[in-house]
């Protein structure tokens, strides 16, 4: 009787006469990813996320989608305006009647002029953006940065301190994807944007927020950059849509 030899092949990984497998598996884990690296990667992912979103927004129409039937209605209204307008010029009809006619056909554009309506219809919808309807999209496309310096801002030196934040914001904090209980909604990008919508309707190009204290209480300082300069606000960390929780501001920075 002969012993059957095992088939030739790679060694069984469990068969380890060297003892190295046991040694390697007994080494302690390196521990969690360091916080600074978590913050660094989270920030770069947030940037990437922003980059992914901005091109989409830039290519979206800057006005709400209008159903085809309403566009057709506008075109018909514009044609009616031209026809009636020409007639009224000849007959002296009051302009108010034209507005009523246009409003009836165009719905939400009752306050718009006939010139805008005809531009929209003649350009196939490629009309200049209306600020009110596009502001939300534009706000989303604006880069925001969140810092967590824990600076102690005071009402007495607020303008200087806010200017210092702008000059040297420090490393960007990891933007929390979910609200951190100790920080509040403003610690997230969505939360900050919602706070900004409560603070101002002005157009701004960048927003910088710093989580620190204001006169001793937890707060966030927000600096908005507009075409006219920089404006700073101090808000409670509960600041969100419809609830600015303003502590100070707006303060124009020099």
């Amino acid at each position: 009787m002969s012993l059957r030899q095992p088939p030739p092949g790679p060694p069984d990984p469990d068969d380890d006469p060297t003892g190295m497998r046991a040694l390697l598996s007994s080494l302690p884990e390196p521990g969690p990813m360091p916080a600074d690296l978590v913050a660094r990667i989270t920030a770069s992912l947030a940037e990437e996320q922003e980059r992914r979103r901005v091109p989409r927004l830039l290519h979206e129409p800057t006005r709400p989608h209008r159903p085809l039937w309403r566009t057709a209605g506008l075109a018909a209204a514009a044609a009616a305006v031209i026809a009636v307008g020409a007639g009224s010029l000849l007959s002296g009809t009051a302009p108010g009647a034209l507005g009523a006619l246009f409003g009836g056909a165009g719905g939400d554009t009752a306050s718009s002029g006939a010139a805008a309506a005809s531009a929209e219809s003649s350009a196939g919808g490629a009309v200049a953006p209306r600020v009110d309807s596009s502001s939300a999209d534009k706000a989303l496309a604006v880069p925001v940065s969140i810092h967590h310096t824990a600076r102690a801002y005071t009402s007495g030196a607020f303008d200087t301190q806010a200017a210092a934040l702008l000059a040297s914001p420090g490393d960007q904090a990891a933007p929390f994807s979910a609200e951190a209980p100790s920080i509040g909604p403003i610690g997230t990008e969505i939360g900050l944007r919602s706070c900004l919508s409560a603070l101002t309707t002005d157009r701004y190009t960048t927003a910088t927020a710093d989580l620190g204290t204001f006169d001793g209480q937890p707060a966030a300082v927000v600096v908005l950059t507009t075409g006219a300069g920089h404006t700073a606000y101090a808000v409670q960390r509960s600041c969100s849509t419809g609830h600015p929780a303003l502590l100070m501001g707006p303060v124009k920075l020099r």
Binding site: T18, V38, I41, L45
Partner: protein, 190 residues
């Protein structure tokens, strides 16, 4: 697809699919879930904290950007491991010439083999192994990946992983010597 569930209750596959569909929070949850394990893999593969940090940042960004390359034929963690290991290997191949070799032989300095010293010795010896053997040992022996999964991460046959592990362990044992391994050298060994 689990989209109604809280983030932490969604599966990795759902999160990746939702990320591809434009969900801005899904990838963050994947990162939160797997960052510590990937950190350990990167650290043990490179043996250098700064290098591991850079590799991981590159790897997670690559995963974010190329999420649609995930075909679903392996676990998301396998796919992530592959991206991290490849990022580390790419980086090591570029940086390897500047990694200094130790002045002394590892086996010569076991007068006081404390636990920390042993760990450092093991990691140093690991760093001296050929790349394929080192990665195989990191994945299979240190992180407990099944051979099949390690083979999927490395995109090689399972037999290759087994061979690399066996050769790597033997080389490691030689580098470390008997005082660390606790395994007696064969009689008659020089």
């Amino acid at each position: 697809m689990g989209g109604d569930l809280p983030l932490e209750q969604r599966t990795d596959r759902d999160l990746l699919a939702q990320h591809c569909a434009g969900d801005g929070a899904a990838f963050g949850e994947l990162f939160r879930r797997h960052r510590d394990r990937m950190w350990a893999v990167a650290l043990r593969t490179t043996g250098n904290r700064e290098l591991a940090a850079d590799c991981l940042q590159e790897a997670f960004l690559a995963a974010f950007r190329r999420a649609d390359s995930y075909r679903g034929d392996a676990a998301v963690t396998t796919w992530l491991h592959r991206i991290v290991v490849n990022a580390c290997l790419d980086r090591l191949r570029r940086e390897r010439p500047v990694v200094p070799l130790p002045d002394r032989e590892i086996a010569d300095r076991h007068d006081a083999p404390g636990q920390v010293e042993t760990r450092l010795d093991v990691l140093e010896a690991l760093a001296r192994l050929p790349e394929g053997q080192r990665i195989a040992l990191v994945l299979v022996d240190m992180h407990g990946l099944p051979v099949a999964e390690a083979a999927a991460v490395l995109e090689v046959a399972e037999g290759t992983v087994k061979s690399r592990c066996a050769r790597g362990r033997a080389a490691l044992a030689t580098l470390l010597g008997p005082s660390v391994t606790g395994v007696a050298e064969p009689s008659g060994a020089p």
